[in-house]
Structures are given as C-alpha cells and as structure tokens.
C-alpha cells in the first residue's frame, strides 16, 4: 500500500522547505518511490537593485542569506570587478579568500553538529533538542553522550569561526568589507596574529573532533554509503582564486556526469532554467541572463516556487562533495556519508590553506584600487558558497543597475522537475531510500540534511497586477 507523507517544515535547514514523499514496498523493501521538494518562500531583491548604484550590490545581495552572506558578497564584487574592469591588489584577493574560507569552516561545523547530528543521536531531553523520531539510534550511550558534548562544544567553536571571519570582514552576517576594487579592511599585523590564534584552534578541532565524529557515524551507519546517491552529476564553479587573474584556484571549476572520475571543463553558456513545474508561466528554458518569470499559482503541473536550473539540460548536484570530487580530493562515492565526509575534509583543506594565506598578507600593502563606473556593462560573477555553486548576473545602463539575477546552490539541489520531467537532484536522491518505519522515516531527514539545504535565497520577485514582469533570485 502506498503511503503519502509531507514533512513541513523540514527543520534544521535554512529557510522554508516542504518535502512530499510516497512510500511503497518494491521487491520486498519498503522505500521512497517518489519525492517532491517544495520551496515556499519568495521575497524581492533584484527589483530593489534596479536603478541602484552598482556599488551597492554586495550590501544588498549579502542580505539574501544570513548563513552564506560572504559568498554573495564575493559573487557581487567579482561581478562588479569585471563590469568595472578593475584589478584588485593581492592583499584584497587574500582577505576576500580568508573571509570566505572562514565562513566555509563555520558553516560546515554548524551543519554537521547543529543541523545533522540530531538525526543520529539523542540530545538533552529539553527543547530544542527533544527528539522527534528517536529511531535507528546505533551509537553506544558513551558515544552518544560524547557526540552531544561535541555539539555543545561546536556552539563555541563556530562562534570563534565567525570571530575569525570578522577579523577582516568587519562583522558576520553581512560583512561590510567586500567592495569592488578590493577590500576595505587592512591586514594590520595584530589582525594577522589574531587570525593565526583562531586558525590554530580551529584546525585541531576539525582534525581531532569533527572528522573523527563523522568517521564514527560512518562506522555505525555503513548502509548510508549506499543511500541518497541521486544522479551522480556533480558541478563546481571553483573557488578561492590563487591569483588575481584566477588562473588557478584551491578548488577547481568543472563538472562530471554519472559518477565519472574525469572532470570536464565548464561552459557557463550551457546553464539554463526551466519553469514547467514551477509556479511561473510556461516559457522555454533560458540562460539566467535572458530568462523571464511570470508567476502563475495555481498552475497545472507546478508545485514549487523554485525554478529548475540545468546544465546541458541535466540536473546537477552542487556542494562540498562536488567541489572535492571535481578537484580530485575525494572520489570515494556519492551518498549521504560521502557528503558528510567530503564536507569535513574540505573544512580541513580550506583551514590549512588559510593558515598559509594569512601569512602572505603584506601589512602595509595596498588593499583597494578605486574603480571607474562605466555607463553600461554586462557581466557575471561565479563563486562557491559553503553549500554549492553561486552565480550573479548583472546589466548596467546609465551607470545604474538595470538587471540582476542570482542562481544559488539550493536552486540546483532542491529544484523541482524540469521540462523533460527529470526530478531535481534531492528528489532523485530520495527515491529508492529504504524506510524502516513509515511513521518515522528518519532516513528521509538524513538524506535531505546531507545536502545542507539553504532556502533563504528563495527570493523570486513578483510584481502583482497588470505588470507581470518578474525577476528571480535562486536559492543558496
């Protein structure tokens, strides 16, 4: 007998997500046979940018997301650097990377302990930790208690990671130091010293606590190496430019299809967005610099406010596993546990790189080259947020922003079906997941959380009434 279930709200994510699943028994195994990911929030950001001074873009777009504001700041200033034709000093490149890298470390620690471990352990018997579905707990009592004590320790450690982010970023969320032409903050020696103090505490935590904790879960839940695979299509825009011309990056750009171990070069022109199953008027799939979105709700076949971005008309998973896979750092497999393990290993890789970068700063060197605003320009900026690929596209006319578009990571991962009926990556990853107890399908939460969804960026803009022009921001 088929069972329909809705999980709304999906908690321990950022933003509002509703997952509808269908459970049935196939070949004697009770499992998920269908899944729909429904994003329920939209706001207006691009319209607010239209007519603004282009230099304001990072301040406005950072506020799309309280969890990954740094990546939006980075995408915005890279975009503006291109539009303005300005080269940035080495100090600025390094500080941008240090602030973004610190946000990666903070976000990954937050994700594992605060958002994911409650799927596997018993926390304190009080809100907010009271367990919903205390099923399939496999850790011993001592292991469970130790992991929860690490959860509480992580509250302090992630706070310190945010302090580290603010050393150069100014504050977080919404760091004010990102600016086209460079960076506003200076790498004074006491800041370099303070950054070293924090990174020297964070690296041992990642090595000696975070990674072993993920490995402990992996040893107790080995079946989760075979759950939540999905398509095996992975994509990364690349991040952490190692020179101002971006000829090399700490994590490379590229994509793979069907679990291939040979990454291919990415062509940004192959990105398109589909709307046939989104609450937008049907239109041909279009590149983000071209697409139109006219809201239509209710709509036959539509079930989400998210569009469906595709590359070469294929769904792609983005995030730490995609980055580490494309870069050749992690190719063990594609699953719930592989996402957690690659995320933890990426945290270490980025933290160790930052320890090198911070000492390459020149405390008295320049940080900023003043750009000249062009009358018109068209450009884009690509980077990676902790949870995946982030792109901003813009147009400038009369020295003002005339168009702004964002596709954020969770738009890729949590997209609905596309024009060809292909489910989004999370939807596909859920299908086939075995369910022990249909009343308490903890397995579904574990698969969802492995993607680290962030729906705060569901900021489609709609102008109701006669004017139906719609600008869209994706999810991050």
């Amino acid at each position: 007998m088929k069972i329909q279930a809705a999980f709304d709200p999906v908690t321990r994510i950022e933003g509002h997500l509703n997952i509808n699943i269908e459970i049935d028994t196939v070949n004697g195994v009770q499992q998920v046979v269908d899944a729909k990911a429904i994003g329920g929030l939209f706001r207006g950001f691009e319209k607010l940018l239209i007519g603004r001074d282009p230099r304001d873009a990072q301040h406005i777009t950072e506020r799309i997301c309280g969890v990954c504001p740094v990546a939006h700041g980075m995408a915005a200033v890279k975009n503006l650097d291109t539009a303005f034709g300005v080269a940035i000093p080495d100090n600025a490149l390094i500080m941008r990377n240090l602030v973004n890298g610190s946000n990666f470390v903070e976000s990954h620690i937050l994700h594992f302990y605060l958002l994911s471990t409650p799927d596997f352990i018993e926390g304190a018997a009080m809100p907010p930790w009271q367990a919903d579905w205390p099923v399939d707990r496999r850790l011993s009592k001592d292991q469970n208690d130790q992991l929860f004590s690490h959860y509480v320790q992580a509250l302090t450690i992630r706070r310190k990671a945010d302090q580290m982010t603010a050393i150069f970023g100014g504050k977080i969320p919404h760091p004010p130091a990102y600016i086209s032409g460079g960076f506003t903050c200076t790498p004074r020696q006491e800041r370099i010293d303070l950054f070293n103090t924090f990174i020297n505490e964070l690296i041992p935590f990642i090595q000696d606590v975070y990674i072993p904790d993920v490995q402990l879960l992996a040893s107790k839940y080995p079946d989760y190496f075979s759950y939540g695979k999905g398509y095996g299509n992975l994509m990364s825009y690349g991040v952490f430019d190692l020179d101002t011309a971006a000829t090399s990056r700490l994590l490379n750009r590229g994509y793979i299809v069907g679990g291939s171990r040979s990454p291919q070069a990415l062509d940004v022109n192959q990105i398109s967005e589909h709307v046939s199953h989104s609450w937008f008027q049907n239109a041909p799939a279009a590149h983000p610099s071209q697409g139109q979105s006219i809201p239509e709700n209710p709509k036959t076949g539509g079930y989400s406010w998210l569009k469906a971005p595709r590359y070469n008309n294929l769904p792609f998973e983005v995030g730490p596993l995609a980055r580490m896979w494309v870069n050749g750092d992690y190719q063990n497999g594609i699953s719930v546990l592989d996402r957690h393990l690659s995320r933890a290993q990426e945290a270490l890789k980025v933290a160790q790189a930052m320890k090198q970068w911070v000492n390459q700063l020149d405390p008295t060197g320049p940080v900023y080259n003043e750009p000249t605003l062009p009358a018109s320009a068209e450009s884009y900026g690509l980077t990676e947020a902790p949870r995946g690929s982030l792109g901003h596209w813009l147009e400038i006319n009369d020295s003002k922003l005339s168009r702004y578009q964002v596709i954020s990571p969770t738009t890729w991962n949590c997209s609905p079906r596309d024009d060809a009926g292909q489910p989004g990556p999370l939807e596909q990853a859920l299908i086939g997941t075995p369910i022990i107890n249909a009343d308490k399908p903890i397995e579904v939460m574990r698969v969802i959380h492995s993607f680290d969804p962030c729906l705060d960026c569901a900021t489609h803009i709609i102008r109701p009434g006669k004017e139906t022009e719609v600008f869209k921001l994706g999810l991050c």
Binding site: P9, V10, T11, R12, I13, H16, G40, L41, F42, R43, G44, L48, R55, H59, R63, C65, G66, V67, L110, L115, P118, E122, G123, A124, A125, P127, P128, W129, A131, D132, K141, N144, D145, Q146, S149, V152, L155, T156, R158, R159, D162, Q163, I167, G170, K171, I172, P173, H174, P176, A177, G182, F183, T184, R188, L194, Y368, D456, I462, R463, P464
Partner: protein, 321 residues
C-alpha cells in the same frame, strides 16, 4: 546530588564524564528544572534571511546583573526554546504541535524574525503544514499573538520591513509590512519590543531576553526600540549618534584628516558615505564579535562604514558618495 542547568552546561562543555552524569540523569534533571521562571520562546521566521538567528549564535556578552552570557547559556539556562526551525530536533507535524501546545498554555515570548508578506494571502511565506492546512507566516502570527506575553521583533526586517519592504511602494512586491504594524492590527494593546540591526547584535537580543526574565520595565523610543540600547535625539537631546561616539571622530581625538578612499585606517569615513551621523546604536563602544579576547571588529574599524542598519529607513538610498 543537586544539579543545576549550569552544571548541565559544564557537563556538556567539559566532557561526558566530567560530572559523572549520564544523559538519563540529565533528563530527570531537566524535568526538575522545567519549572516556572524559564520563559518559553517561540521563534518564527518570515521575510528575512535568518541572519539574526545566526548572529544570536555568536552571543558572548557581559550582561549586568547576570554576568557573562553565551548562546549555550541562554539555550540551556534561560529559555525554553520550543520552536525555532533552524535548531530544533523535531520536524513536520511534531514541530508544529509543539508551537500549538505552547499557544494553548499561553504566556510565551513570541520572537519574530523577518517582515510579514501580506500579498497572495500571505503565501509568499508558507512556514508549515498543520494537519492538512497550509500555514503562512501571517496566519501563524495571527494564531499566536493573542496568548503571547510579549512580542520581541529581532532584526530590521521584522522591526521595520527592511530590505524586502525598501524602495518605492511598487517595489514591495510581496506586500511586506513590519511586524509591529501587523501585530497591532490584530491587537493594538500588545507589547512589542523592537531589536533592530542587520543583523541584530546578539548582545542586544540577549539583553532583551534578560529584561523579560527579570520582569524589568523597558523604556521604548517612538520606533519601539529600547532607549537603553538605541538612545536617540527624539527621546533625549543629549543622546549621541554613532559618529559622535566614534573613536575616529576628530572631536574624540581621531585623525583630523578624513578618509578620501577605502583602506585608510583610523580616519573618519563621513566623506565616503558613512551613516554614523544619522544612526543611533552602541556599536562604537560595544563593537562586534566579542569573545575571550574582547571584540574583534566593527563596521567602521574595518573601513566598511556604518550603513545605518538599525534605522527604520534602512537600506535607504545610495550607500556610497
């Protein structure tokens, strides 16, 4: 052996065996501590970015008369956080039921983060499904205002609408209204306290929670902000703005040469567009990202300028001059 919530925190932060306690014992401890005096918080997210929740996780503040307070302190010792979708273990109907149970009991603090989208019958922000009914943010506030002891609006989006409400009226495509406006359309007499900021400083939020626990009267300005945190010339002609309190102000011993471009340390940023002269907060003295070694930075010290994020008209017009 009598144990307290603070012992519990020690237990958690030290190690599993430091106090010789098991989680089973802690469960009994919790039952004993779930008495009166610990306020229940229901924390809802609307048209915002959840950055105020993230900011709150950074709490490390000395708050008289209670002393040093951290996020773990607040969660474990000070409040019963019955609903907060980013951190709560429960999901789906179980989570919604916790909010419904708190509603029936009444007397909770309703924390609102994010403005209220009213267009499309509120469906610009669907926060849950209750039974088979879609629950919008707007409807949830409707349901929860009546039995709330007080409404705490956290962040500029909740307090004033913020970025989603900014720009010309026609730009407000989801019909966002501020939470105080929406709450007072339901119950004009309901007490609402605004803690603005983009994000709200965690110490400001904790200060508000502590005042509520201590049952202290909180003086508010015309924008419903506590004057203790956001004292301004509307209520006190002697109140100083950020510029007047800024260490970079030449009148306060700052460099008489003003900044002419970015990246010039210790110089006043007013010629670049700094909004310190029209902004009232305690940022120049409190600064941001406090920890064991003191605060790390703030918007002016990184030359990023004050952009007036606590003010009702934020984000306003062009940021740079």
């Amino acid at each position: 052996m009598r144990v307290t919530r603070r012992d519990f925190l020690k237990y958690c932060t030290a190690s599993a065996t430091a106090l010789g306690l098991s989680l089973g014992e802690l469960e009994r401890l919790e039952a004993a501590l779930a008495g009166p005096g610990v306020p229940t918080l229901l924390w809802l997210h609307g048209s915002g970015c959840q950055g105020d929740s993230v900011s709150f996780l950074n709490l490390y503040a000395d708050l008289p008369p209670v002393g040093l307070v951290t996020t773990a302190d607040v969660l474990i010792n000070y409040v019963n956080l019955a609903y907060h979708t980013v951190v709560m273990a429960s999901a789906g109907q179980t989570a919604v039921t916790m909010a419904n149970q708190a509603n029936r009991k009444g007397g909770y603090v309703l924390v609102l983060e994010g403005g209220v989208p009213t267009a499309f019958d509120g469906r610009a922000c669907i926060i849950a499904t209750d039974g088979d009914q879609e629950l919008t943010y707007q409807q949830a506030i409707h349901n929860l205002v009546g039995n709330a002891a007080v409404i705490l609006c956290v962040g500029t989006c909740a307090c004033y609408g913020g970025i989603p409400k900014s720009g010309p009226v026609e730009y407000n495509s989801t019909g966002v209204v501020s939470c105080p406006e929406f709450v007072h359309s339901i119950d004009p007499a309901k007490t609402v306290i605004n803690i603005p900021g983009c994000p709200a400083h965690p110490a400001w939020v904790a200060w508000g929670v502590v005042q509520l626990i201590l049952n202290n009267p909180v003086e508010l300005d015309p924008y419903l902000r506590p004057t203790a945190l956001f004292g301004n010339k509307d209520v006190d002609e002697h109140a100083n703005n950020v510029h007047e309190n800024c260490p970079r102000n030449p009148n306060n011993g700052g460099n008489p040469d003003l900044a002419t471009t970015f990246g010039q340390d210790y110089r006043c940023l007013q010629d670049l567009g700094c909004r310190g002269p029209s902004t009232f907060s305690d940022c120049p003295s409190r600064k941001w990202h406090n920890g064991e070694n003191g605060p790390v930075n703030w918007c002016v010290d990184c030359n990023g300028m004050c952009i007036g994020c606590v003010e009702p008209d934020f984000p306003g017009g062009d940021i740079y001059l």
